[in-house]
């Protein structure tokens, strides 16, 4: 059995989740506390991946990334990067596809904190930035952990989008879910089962760890 698809899957999920965490923090903060018009539009756009079939997202990303269209051509000219059928393209697609899984839990975590925490920090002379990093974020660790893991798991489970824009180039875009599909198509049920079992076991262990950590965090917070 070739372990490369498994390795690639977890590499993609780790990179995607890490980048998304950095991107999602300001977005979640903005959605939670920002005062602006057009919030509904922003929310709808972020939430699209929750409801759209992955093939729809994949299809439009394929068009966007393709060098025959302006965005793909522009990226290729400026960065010298071809996004279609490449690992960087997969990362970008995964970021867009998993965006709500990172943004929504963090936003909910921020909103569940009492407003007085923020206000107290301001009255103690702290800026919005200091308040965010020293008061708000440390107090919604369970939400951030949940968001990270949901994003990770969602990226591991990605199939349709990858197939549309990545194809199945071994070592580049052939992730575990695509490998399973290929093996089943080729009637290699044994190999497909091995891939599936490994994915199943690893994701189960991750979720188990997260929920026990989260429960411990919550217990510490609630014990008074």
């Amino acid at each position: 059995m070739d372990y490369q698809p498994i390795w690639l899957t977890f590499r993609l999920a780790t990179i995607t989740s890490a980048i998304l965490l950095v991107l999602a923090l300001p977005v979640a903060y903005w959605l939670a506390f920002g005062k602006f018009k057009g919030r509904g539009v922003v929310e709808a756009v972020i939430g699209l991946p929750l409801v759209l079939p992955p093939s729809v997202i994949g299809f439009y990303l394929l068009l966007a990334f393709s060098p025959s269209y302006w965005f793909g051509a522009w990226i290729e000219k400026v960065l010298g990067l071809r996004l279609v059928f490449s690992f960087p393209g997969l990362v970008i697609a995964s970021i867009l596809y998993s965006l709500p899984f990172m943004v929504y839990p963090i936003r909910a975590g921020l909103q569940s904190l009492p407003a007085s925490l923020r206000e107290a920090s301001y009255t103690l002379g702290k800026t919005e930035m200091q308040t965010f990093f020293k008061v708000l974020l440390p107090n919604c660790k369970p939400a951030i952990l949940t968001a990270f893991v949901l994003t990770f798991a969602h990226t591991v489970g990605e199939f349709g989008v990858v197939l549309m824009i990545g194809g199945n180039i071994p070592g580049v875009t052939k992730v575990a879910s695509v490998a399973i599909y290929n093996e089943v198509e080729a009637l290699n049920y044994g190999v497909a089962n091995q891939y599936a079992l490994i994915l199943f076991a690893i994701t189960f262990v991750i979720l188990l760890l997260v929920y026990s950590i989260n429960n411990r965090l919550l217990r510490v917070r609630q014990s008074a």
């Binding site: 007085s116 103690l124 917070r221």
Partner: protein
Amino acid sequence: MSDSQLNIAIRHTLHTAQGTLPMEVSFSLEKAAIMALTGPSGAGKTTLLKQIAGLLMPEEGKIAIGNALWLDTQNQYKSPPQQRNIGFVFQDYALFPNMSVAENLTFALPKGGDKTIVEELLEATRLENLADRKPSQISGGQQQRVALARALVRKPELLLLDEPFSAVDPEMRYQLQEFILKFHKLYQFTAIIVTHETSEIFRLADQVGIMENGKLTQFGPPAQVYLNNSQPEKDLYIHGEIINYTKTADCILANAWIDNKIRLIELPFGMEEKALTGKKFTLCLSLQSPEILWLS
């Protein structure tokens, strides 16, 4: 207008459960005065406090303390809460759960600030032994002391307290008042305290403002506001019980249980046979002539 005053004039629209309500408040406080802000809930007391702190923006208004201007909507000037030298004690204390007691206080220090004030305050509020505990690991009364101490770290000119006495039992309430009075003596801040207890108002405040439906309907020294009041329904009643009494040359001194505290009251002669141990009474302070009704 002396420059040692807090001057406030605010116009705003309150959004209450009963609909919108125009809010209009203006008053001045001398430096180091303690003002009690009281009145029914939904009258706009917390809103006013937050507007003074800069956490809420009134539609129109001017707030100045001493030579510092905090808000002047006419000239489109607004200093953010960070730049107003205030201490705010929130109703829910708003202690940071991720920080220990000491860290909550240290957090309030400006960059490079002197740490001795933190130790000073921890000691003064008798929290030194709890310094490393998280807020969730200490009692409600202790949390309240942390909140008060934290609000004082920056040595604020103005201390705002939003119903600090509502959530704790009478013993702790009394203790907190002691702390507030002690720190007030030490740091000479001006203070505005939202409270409902008349006895606390008398004990702490130089001025009392009664806020109803977004307006300051009465403002002045507590004795004047409560005792000179000719409207009978606004009389002050103090309920108590005689514990024991001694006779002196010209009066009777009685220990009475009033507001969960034993207090010495002076009674004129002639009440001797009435002021027996165990008697319950109501002291009615109205029309400048205190009057005692004996209930049992």
